[in-house]
């Protein structure tokens, strides 16, 4: 059985790369929080903040050609799969230089060239598409897999169960990844779920299952790598579930503890195990100098600030852009 990663770099380098990606996503979203009140980014933001370790860890276990299908909470998946930060901000600002020339916004970030195929704003809607992509990869013998991210709310939807069943019965290389933040907008799991454990149920399917309560990006990467190895060996799909905590409101850039459906104490407890703090401490323990880390963080800060500055002054799409792409356009 071959390991999923080709020529793995040393653990130190990989740990640093994981941290850089986590930091980039966190800082990018902090910039969104900073500039959103200017009302120039007119797109509903579903922030990844607090949940970044899952897409970063899982995407680190994927190969370049593997494909990701994301939900509307897609900032982290988009950047973790290699999406460019300049096109990311340009898209949020609705500019011609964005990923889809401003037509997609935050909810539909996509960069197929990087393997980030789509982000979908209707819960569970990307999951069936990932199953079909996996079928094509299997049929064509590409060795690629389809990885689909969704929240625990998606498990309330029929499309999730239909897709899981189809991937199991057709033996397709789909990596199902549940970001279990326990909330559908503000509705808690116990109001929605007539069962005790999702993973217990899924373990009865012909599917590899793993669940973890962790914010450790390295643990998540290892879990994903293990699942991918088992998938390749057995030909069956895998389902991963990671508990996490959404720091901000469902949509928007603010905290929402004043609404009373969850407490600040919970947040503070999760904040203690924040994925960035953990990974940064690991790097310091492994001998990475504080000075070097700060310099690296500053570089990222500057690059992101430049991306924002450039996006702000970039031109909006011309009116002809409206009609472009309704149907396939031959290059």
């Amino acid at each position: 059985m071959k390991d999923a990663t080709v020529n793995p770099p040393s653990l130190g380098t990989r740990s640093l790369e994981l941290y850089k990606t986590l930091y980039t996503i966190r800082r990018a979203e902090e910039l969104i929080i900073q500039y959103y009140p200017e009302n120039d980014m007119k797109t509903p933001m579903h922030m990844s903040m607090g949940q970044e370790a899952i897409p970063v860890g899982v995407c680190a276990a994927l190969r370049d050609g593997d494909q990701v299908f994301a939900s509307y909470r897609s900032h982290a998946t988009f950047l973790a799969k290699g999406g460019a930060t300049d096109r990311f901000f340009a898209e949020l600002y609705g500019r011609q230089t964005g990923t889809v020339n401003g037509k997609a916004g935050s909810m539909h970030l996509a960069d197929p060239a990087k393997g980030h195929m789509c982000s979908s704003a209707v819960v569970a809607t990307g999951i069936p598409v990932a199953v079909g992509a996996a079928f094509a990869h299997k049929r064509r013998g590409t060795g690629r897999l389809a990885c689909v991210f969704f929240g625990d709310g998606a498990a309330d939807e029929g499309a999730f169960w239909e897709s899981l069943n189809t991937a199991c019965v057709m033996r397709l290389p789909v990596l199902f990844v549940c970001e279990d933040n326990g909330l559908a907008v503000q509705t808690p799991a116990h109001v929605r779920q007539g069962y005790a454990s999702l993973t217990d149920i899924i373990s009865r399917f012909k599917c590899h299952v793993a669940a973890q309560d962790t914010t450790d990006v390295e643990a998540i990467r290892q879990t994903a790598e293990g699942a991918i190895i088992r998938m390749r060996a057995s030909g069956q799909p895998a389902f991963l579930s990671f508990t996490c905590y959404r720091y901000l409101e469902h949509v928007g850039v603010r905290e929402d503890f004043h609404l009373g459906y969850r407490s600040r104490d919970d947040y503070e407890a999760w904040r203690q195990r924040d994925c960035l703090t953990l990974q940064r401490a690991r790097l310091v323990d492994a001998g990475h100098g504080e000075e070097a880390l700060r310099s690296l963080e500053q570089d990222i800060d500057e690059r992101l600030q430049q991306d924002v500055a450039r996006a702000k002054v970039a031109p909006p799409p011309g009116p002809e852009e409206l009609f472009k792409g309704v149907f396939h356009e031959k290059p």
């Binding site: 809607t125 598409v129 079909g132 992509a133 079928f135 990869h137 189809t166 019965v169 309704v326």
Partner: protein, 346 residues
């Protein structure tokens, strides 16, 4: 002339395209079973194997997204539904994902997905096995919708749909499966977006869809005997809809009747009426008339079903009213010849 049935024409198109292009595959509920989707898939599984012709779990929505995922990754899926009504289970994938996917990539990704769906009628099909819904699909930007009427078109349209790099919904009327006509043996395409004139005439234009073309041609034959020359225009593709053929015809005749195989309210007939009225306003000698299903669910019992569906008799009467002619004697006419072949249950 090489004569084939509509069903044989569909089957020949699939055989030829699947032999030509190994990226094609056909799937759907019951697709490989002994009925072979009313015969249209005869020999496909035997010839191309279970990997390219297969059954699915009962999940139309997911299997539609499945087709999309396969289509954006180099395959050309053909998803088959034995009734259009089942497509309603797939509306989320169709309208939220399939129709928007190319747009979501700035047109860079292609979605060569074909969805075949059969319209049922007669012998108690009732209100969940008889819908056409083509206006519903045609309302959505990003979807192409085509309704072949003749055997020649069935083959050419299906080949064009398979070769198209966009999602195409092909709506096939169950009763047309028995229709026979000239079908060339070699593969050919009937371009999507182009209509055709099924019968030339000079006094009045009937724009008809799917089965209603059969009724329109029958009505035209009857009216001819009364000295009325009717032109029958079959748009074939209703999305994208090129209205020029209908408009040019009405410019010549001055009268337009739309016979749609669907409900009239907010339907394709209304679209044709609007476009013809917009473009032929000064030349219209009468307001555009629409015929379609009664505004009710489709009843099961035959006597009510006959009231529900418009037929050639209704067309004749509507034309006579438009032209101010006295009602002719239709007592000797045979209006439901095709239905006699259909003794159910499906």
């Amino acid at each position: 002339m090489r004569s084939r049935s509509y069903c044989e024409a569909l089957n020949e198109a699939l055989h030829q395209e699947m032999a030509r292009d190994p990226s094609t595959f056909v799937y759907g509920l019951g697709v490989p079973d002994r009925m072979s989707v009313f015969g249209s898939l005869v020999g496909i599984r035997e010839r191309f194997g279970p990997e390219r012709c297969f059954d699915t779990p009962l999940c139309e929505d997911t299997m539609t997204g499945f087709g999309l995922g396969a289509a954006i990754n180099g395959l050309r899926p053909i998803h088959v539904h034995i009734r259009v009504d089942f497509l309603l289970l797939a509306m989320n994938q169709l309208v939220n994902m399939v129709s928007t996917f190319s747009y979501s990539t700035g047109g860079r990704l292609k979605v060569p997905l074909v969805i075949r769906a059969v319209v049922g009628r007669g012998w108690g099909q009732g209100y969940q096995h008889s819908k056409s819904l083509h206006a519903l699909f045609a309302h959505i930007p990003g979807l192409k919708v085509v309704l072949p009427t003749t055997p020649r078109d069935a083959k050419g349209v299906l080949i064009a749909a398979i070769r198209d790099d966009n999602p195409v919904i092909v709506i096939e009327h169950r009763w047309l499966y028995w229709a026979t006509g000239e079908v060339p043996e070699e593969p050919y395409t009937v371009p999507l977006g182009e209509g055709q004139i099924l019968r030339r005439g000079s006094d009045l234009t009937i724009v008809a869809t799917s089965w209603m073309n059969v009724e329109a041609l029958k009505a035209a034959e009857i009216l001819q005997r009364a000295g009325v020359s009717v032109e029958v225009v079959d748009p074939r593709t209703i999305a994208p809809f090129d209205e020029r053929l209908a408009v040019e015809s009405v410019e010549r005749t001055g009268h337009c009747l739309v016979a749609d195989n669907d409900w009239t309210h907010c339907g394709f007939g209304a679209e044709v009426a609007a476009r013809v009225s917009e473009q032929c306003f000064g030349r219209l000698k009468s307001p555009v008339t629409r015929l379609g299903f009664a505004p009710t669910p489709c009843p099961t019992v035959r006597v009510l079903e006959n009231e529900f569906y418009p037929n050639a008799e209704d067309i004749v009467r509507a034309v006579e009213a438009k032209l101010g002619l006295a009602p002719s004697d239709l007592s000797g006419e045979d209006f439901y010849s095709h239905e006699r072949r259909f003794t159910g249950p499906f």
